[in-house]
Symmetry: C2
Subunit: 202 residues, 2 copies
């Protein structure tokens, strides 16, 4: 079947980023995440801080601003917003990365950007609220606010961002070839399953 690229979308706190790294390591292929941001910086000339803010990592306060900004631009005069320019640049880079060889790409709506390519395997990682909250408490000790509030806010933000740029609902099974509950199955088992099917279909 010629599968070459794995995209991983994930709920905040589900361990999807870690699973992506484990899969890339098991398969001996490249892993992309923050590297995409850096490349985008070079393309667009925007500051690293603004690009980070325009993505999915904004704080709660700025997240509201982000949503309002998206809405006002969407209803506006049809000019691309700075967010749109960043998204367009990120899309171009995601496609270049996919062209460059076997790899794992986490986040950045890569599942949507690469949906027409037959050589991609699109994965969604999720987990129960309890499981994610536990993981957030253990792994994100430097974030403001309660882990639960942060989780809700990040979910809301990713959903808004994904809906705005893809027109699709986030987390719907049919948009992915495989959706896995990392809380129930375990991170290692998820990585094993993904690497295993990649080897079968490559």
């Amino acid at each position: 079947m010629g599968i070459k690229v794995i995209t991983i979308s994930r709920q905040f706190g589900s361990g999807g980023h870690t699973i992506g790294q484990m899969v890339a390591e098991k398969l001996g292929i490249n892993f992309y995440d923050s590297a995409i941001i850096d490349k985008t910086v070079e393309e667009t000339g925007f500051s690293p801080e603004f690009i980070k803010e325009a993505g999915e990592y904004a704080t709660s306060a700025n997240s509201l601003l982000f949503s309002l900004s998206l809405a006002s631009y969407a209803q506006g005069v049809g000019l691309p917003s700075p967010y749109d320019k960043i998204f367009a640049a990120q899309s171009k880079i995601v496609q270049e990365i996919a062209d460059s060889g076997p790899c794992v790409i986490v986040g950045r709506c890569a599942d949507y950007i690469l949906e027409d390519r037959a050589d991609c395997l699109h994965i969604f990682i999720h987990a129960s609220d309890e499981s994610r909250q536990k993981r957030v408490e253990e792994n994100y000790t430097d974030i403001p606010g309660s882990p639960e509030a942060r989780m809700r806010e990040m979910d809301r933000r990713r959903r808004t961002y994904y809906k705005h740029y893809t027109g699709r609902s986030w987390g719907l099974s049919e948009h992915y070839h495989m959706s896995l509950d990392s809380g129930k199955l375990g991170l290692e088992a998820c990585a094993e399953i993904i690497a295993g099917i990649y080897k079968q279909l490559m």
Copy 2:
């Protein structure tokens, strides 16, 4: 972790029923589907034809009737409809089956009925429209109307039925521990993945 029961929900034409049989065979455990209908018949005293019609197998014309009937009962005087009585009886039987030992249960909203049990693994099988249409054409030669129309109608019906009895949206990743695209991954690979993770978590 003590997993004992696998429930499989599936889009029409995705091969979820076949995958369920393959998993049960690989694991040497019981498989339940139409057997549930027969047991329900005994419990309720309804005719086998009516139970089949009240489930997910109605024809297009009767499906409209079903939706209208659900809606009118829902807005009515609060008495349980015949459909509600059948659903209640089916739910009871699904729980009895889950109590009876390791098994695979396909359909019947078993994922929802057994959602609070920690010993269940909930699976959703889906596939692209093209893949399902091909499968319907090959495997369902005795159904009326075009395969595409039948597929749409069955999807709509299962969605309506599931929404009515569970209050949830059908096919949302987070309601299942694993969602697999049988068209992309292949039926055998899906069955292998499910049986593999069952063995790890049993």
